[in-house]
């Protein structure tokens, strides 16, 4: 392997340097039908799950075929996408805000060939490369984060549980039978790099053991005051410890005050939390983002902990599948999962979804916890 220079000269970093040019301008990439009709769209309609079209004032139509996919994606697959886009879509393609891919064509007759092409492509292992679906009152792609594939703080993997879950929910990706759309999200730690805090169903990686203290290296690897300041519960105090007969500066953690947020580890690599038995998954439900009918809502914790059962997380996917099916059967048309739970009451939600209610689910974090308790005699037996 020989180093190939781009032209950059490390000795003169400023030479010919181009900075602050921002992204490419959006309209360089618009397909012609979009460029022409932007801002004049009249309405849209679904042809089938994954396929919809928009009609513009000009009479023009754009047909969109949406396909799901793992967002952890190789250049190989991107090149295959390009090949398809060249073949069917005049060389244009887009991604959605939930990591689906949208192929657009400007006439209805181009739709079926496109779909046929997409659905025919499979990975060696047998899975679809480009399953069509994810629209309307169904389940679309799971937005997720890095997990064990790239991040240093996860309490679970991302791509693994997502694949396992989408396999289980695949029928709802391919159909629009639900009362409203249902968004599943995953974040591998509670930094929550995504919107799992307001998803219909959220899969959250969570630690349950306080940080280990790598005393020998702590003062070398970390700024002790920053680590202390990072703790939201003030569980960390400075401490002198003896290592190999020498008194050195380190920290002590009051384990009973620790809520396993990992913020100390973010600031200090000598305080790792990860643990095979301690780490696992929290299931949350009932959040939403849109302002449709009801205001946006946070997701609520409905299962306090499930173990990391790689590679397929069967307990996690079973709980999710159960919730989706109960919701599908019980909710009213247009009702989001959280709206449904609130209407029937959370006590019914747990009963219907056959989930145990444990003390962990009662909020005890700071003053606002009070507002989640039941301050009325209104409840259902």
């Amino acid at each position: 392997m020989a180093f190939i220079s781009s032209g950059y000269d490390p000795k003169e970093p400023m030479k010919n340097r181009i900075t602050d040019i921002g992204p490419r301008k959006y309209d360089e990439f618009y397909p012609p039908v979009i460029a022409k009709n932007k801002g004049t769209w009249l309405y849209h309609q679904y042809l089938k799950p994954g396929v919809y079209y928009h009609v513009a004032e000009s009479g023009d139509k754009v047909f969109t075929v949406r396909v799901g996919g793992a967002r952890l994606m190789s250049t190989l697959l991107i090149q295959e996408i390009c090949e398809i886009a060249d073949k069917h879509c005049g060389g244009y393609v887009r991604w959605t805000t939930r990591n689906n891919i949208e192929f657009m064509v400007d006439s209805e007759k181009k739709v079926e060939p496109l779909i046929k092409d997409l659905e025919s492509r499979k990975f060696k292992g047998g899975s679809f490369k480009f399953p069509v679906g994810g629209t309307g009152a169904g389940i679309t792609n799971i937005v997720h984060t890095q997990g064990w594939a790239h991040c240093h703080t996860p309490a679970t993997d991302a791509s693994g549980p997502v694949k396992a879950t989408m396999d289980v929910l695949f029928e709802d990706f391919k159909s629009m039978r639900l009362p409203a759309h249902l968004r599943v999200s995953l974040a591998c730690c509670l930094n929550m790099c995504g919107a799992v805090h307001c998803s219909d169903i959220a899969i959250l990686g969570y630690h349950r053991k306080p940080p280990m203290l790598d005393h020998e290296y702590l003062d070398k690897m970390c700024e002790i005051p920053l680590a202390i300041a990072a703790c939201p519960t003030a569980a960390i105090k400075p401490a002198k410890v003896e290592v190999g007969g020498q008194k050195i500066n380190s920290v002590a953690v009051n384990n009973d005050r620790c809520m396993f947020c990992g913020n100390c580890y973010t600031m200090c690599p000598a305080m790792p939390l990860a643990d095979k038995e301690g780490d696992g998954i929290v299931i949350m439900a009932g959040g939403k983002v849109s302002n449709r009918r009801s205001a946006p809502k946070f997701s609520k914790v409905v299962v306090a902990f499930l173990p990391n059962e790689a590679p397929r997380w069967p307990q996690t996917t079973a709980v999710i599948k159960k919730m989706v099916d109960v919701y599908a059967n019980d909710a009213r048309k247009y009702e989001r999962l959280g709206e449904w739970a609130e209407r029937i009451g959370w006590e019914r939600f747990f009963e219907k979804c056959e989930l145990p209610f444990t003390h962990h689910l009662i909020d005890d974090f700071r003053d606002p916890a009070y507002y989640t308790w039941r301050q009325t005699t209104q409840f259902k037996f």
Binding site: P23, Y92, T97, F123, A149, C193
Partner: protein, 437 residues
Amino acid sequence: MAKHKTPMLDQLESGPWPSFVSDLKALADERTKNPKKLDFQVPVDVVDDLLGLLELSFKDGATHWKHGGIVGVFGYGGGVIGRYCDQPEMFPGVAHFHTMRVNQPGGKFYTTEYLRNLCDLWDLRGSGMTNMHGSTGDIIFLGTRTDQLEEIFFELTHKFNQDLGGSGSNLRTPSDCIGAARCEYACYDTQDLCFTMTNDYQDELHRPAFPYKFKFKFDGCPNCCVASIARSDMSFIGTWRDDIRIDQEAVQSYIGGEIPPNAGAHMSRDWGKFDIQKEVIGLCPTECMRMEGKKLKIDNKECNRCMHCINVMPRALRIGKDRGLSILVGAKAPILDGAQMGSLLVPFVKAEAPYEEIKEVIEKVWDWWMEEGKNRERLGELIKRQGFQKLLEATGIAPDARHVKEPRSNPYIFWKEEEVEGGWTRDVNEFRKHHLR
């Protein structure tokens, strides 16, 4: 042949959903075969080793990535996340595995030409693995070595007219919904506002000068397809202030069953005949709709623009014509004090280039936050700590009942001395003349 055995990962190759494992394996193979005869600038077995490392994580139930070190490109404080593996000897291919955030285009539209260029660059100088896209919106180049960072940046800027996105205590890469480009609900041009703000604030994006990260997201309407209200320090959400436009004939077509409700979004199940009373009028949260004979009437003054009726009958109902956006502030993930949704700061502002009025609000918010915010304190946390009033003072925005869901229920008002007749200085001895001890 695969370099590492991956029995657990292999189980994720089955099932219908696209398998990232199959994709990774294909790329690993491709690199081994190297049909284009590339002189890979990072180890050829980088993807093999990624698979091996991931398999180990599946076995151990824990990550094998270490804290990122400080790596980056000259003059920028963000755009690159350092990453090293904690078993470099077992997996030398991913010993160094930094990511680069490439600022995605508005609406995430692409030409294949552009994408192919990126792929070529990344095959040569990186792992060939990406996230399409990162949660903030960037194109994520996943895994390269330190010596490639400047090279990639040079090629991006010189060849592709393309800059990096944000990371660190910067403005983060702004992102938008597809909006006016293809959506009839868009109340303003999300792509243009997003692009303009991204470019006007390149300095804030690349050079950390903030207490912590700061995110902009642009949603064309209250449906919030880019989830701005939940995950941006400043969300720009389209709205209108005149009347919903009604096509009464189309209303009748919905009632008659000629047009499926909600554009057919519920077509996989038989929900029975469309019932405008039950499905639209009865679900309007403000109860401001009614049928007068064959005419649908909306008391627009009482409408809160929740979008429900428009979503159900897009061919009959359309957003108003006097459009603009609402600005909400402070949304964030739960660390440290719990998650926040955006709180309404500006109920309505016009969104027309060059967007001066909007920029004024942005800059006043930043000035306040940079002045008052503590290290690692998000805007939302500062607002919570100092109070919403302080934000209003800092931005010169008049308090309005629209700022609250409900007025305070505690009477603990922090009056200011100048608001109270006679001020606060009193003589206790004077008081004691009238009130003996």
